[in-house]
């Protein structure tokens, strides 16, 4: 292999090959990889927030007396209205027959599930000029619950808030950013 006499065309060709690899990598990294990384999981049954608009968020997502937050309601909450079917949607049918009748909790998937090592309490955040939608998606017009996109490596939902976001807001609001404020 004698490198001494390299033709100009060779150089150009080299450039082409280089770009080939370069652009290929960019596409892989920016387009393909993210889609590979996140799985798409459907909720066990559809839940239409619109259909439940007659009552406000608190009537289903509320605080317990000890300051903890109920998050996604458990079955007994559903039972309050859906002892028997109210309408005739498929998902309500499954709710009544499969879950309520058999007393099985609906295995809802959370969109903003925090890992065990995180302590998050809604209590301090409520009434700090924060609305539900400041952190959660707006469900007021939501007929159909979206798919849950889970990171295949970490298991985090794509909409799980990461620490940097918490830190920023805490910094802005002058709230403590000490580790144990949010970790357990």
């Amino acid at each position: 292999m004698n490198e001494e006499k390299k033709s100009g065309s060779g150089k150009a060709l080299g450039m082409v090959f280089f770009l080939l690899g370069f652009i290929g990598a960019l596409v892989l990294g920016w387009v393909v990889f993210p889609n590979l990384l996140y799985s798409q999981k459907a909720q066990p049954i559809n839940f239409s927030h619109v259909a439940h608009q007659d009552n406000d968020c608190e009537s289903c997502h509320s605080f317990r007396p000890d300051g903890t937050y109920t998050g996604i309601p458990t079955l007994d909450k559903c039972v309050e209205c859906h002892e028997t079917a109210q309408g005739n949607t498929e998902s309500e049918k499954t709710l009544v027959e499969h879950y309520i009748a058999k007393k099985i909790e609906v295995p809802w998937k959370s969109y903003s599930w925090q890992p065990d090592n995180v302590f998050f309490s809604h209590a301090p955040h409520k009434g700090q000029g924060l609305k539900c939608v400041s952190c959660h998606r707006d469900v007021s017009k939501e007929e159909k619950v979206p798919l849950v996109r889970e990171n295949r490596i970490t298991g985090y939902s794509i909409s799980t808030m990461k620490m940097t976001e918490c830190e920023e807001c805490h910094a802005q609001k002058g709230a403590s950013n000490n580790c144990e404020i949010c970790h357990k």
Binding site: G67, S121, A123, P124, S176, N178, C179, H183, K184
Partner: protein, 251 residues
């Protein structure tokens, strides 16, 4: 962080353990294990690898029968209040262990810890334990695990947190009740459990509090005060031989 120079907040959580009341029964240590999801193994007799946040140290007066006397000394994390940094927080390369200058708690965050064990080397009280194995429980006993404390992973350091998750819970309740979250009080599991009421806990800077008073008691002393670690755990004893064992003194 620590640069703020501490104690500005007026809250310094601390503990006082009365060795005249303590019988060394170990209830504090067991309650701590249950409260904090501390893992255990079939054989726990290899003490240098056994995870115990509240360790019961034996000590004796060095005399022979029948003048011999001994005592037990429960040792939680001292949550050292030494200036600027605690021995351990000073050395952690990744800020996994820090001291909250709002309340003096020295905490350790497992997901951040890289397991270099420099903090263990720095701590003269052996208050820090390393997860040499993947923590595992008998299947049935996984039902006993508390959701209020995360289970650890192997390869990280852990230690007594003064049950800071109880503080967080108390604060949440205060927010909901509309009370002042900075005025809440709480007790760690060990103090709650102690059957002889030998352990008291509270704000050391509040002179009217029980710990505020007891820490000024003539019987009060701390371990290794000469090192300037300024522990926030005080001990009480009426026996000189016990006090003498608390700090090195050239005889």
């Amino acid at each position: 962080m620590s640069e703020k120079g501490h104690a500005q907040s007026g809250v310094r959580y601390g503990m006082v353990i009365d060795l005249d009341k303590c019988t060394g029964c170990g209830a504090c240590s067991v309650a701590c294990q249950a409260e904090n999801n501390i893992s255990f193994r079939p054989d726990e007799s290899m003490k240098l690898r056994s995870i115990t946040w509240m360790e019961i140290y034996p000590m004796n007066n060095g005399k022979d029968y029948p003048d011999y006397r001994f005592s037990y000394l429960p040792r939680p994390c001292m949550h050292c209040d030494s200036d600027h940094h605690s021995p351990c927080t000073f050395v952690c390369p990744v800020n996994a262990t820090t001291r909250d200058e709002n309340n003096g708690l020295v905490t350790h965050i497992y997901p951040r810890c890289i397991g270099c064990r420099y903090c263990m080397v720095a701590c003269p009280y052996h208050a820090r334990d390393f997860n040499w194995w993947d923590p595992t429980w008998p299947k049935q006993m996984e039902s006993m695990l508390s959701p209020e404390v995360s289970t650890r992973m192997r390869g990280v350091v852990e230690k007594c947190t003064f049950c800071h998750h109880r503080l967080l819970k108390a604060r949440s309740k205060a927010y909901v009740d509309g009370a002042d979250p900075n005025k809440v009080t709480y007790t760690p599991a060990c103090a709650d459990a102690c059957p002889t009421r030998a352990i008291s806990f509270g704000n050391l800077m509040d002179a009217s509090s029980e710990v505020g008073k007891l820490s000024k008691d003539p019987r009060a002393f701390r371990i290794l005060e000469k090192l300037g670690t300024k522990p926030k755990v005080y001990y009480l004893s009426r026996h000189d031989w016990i006090k003498n064992l608390a700090d090195n003194a050239i005889k």
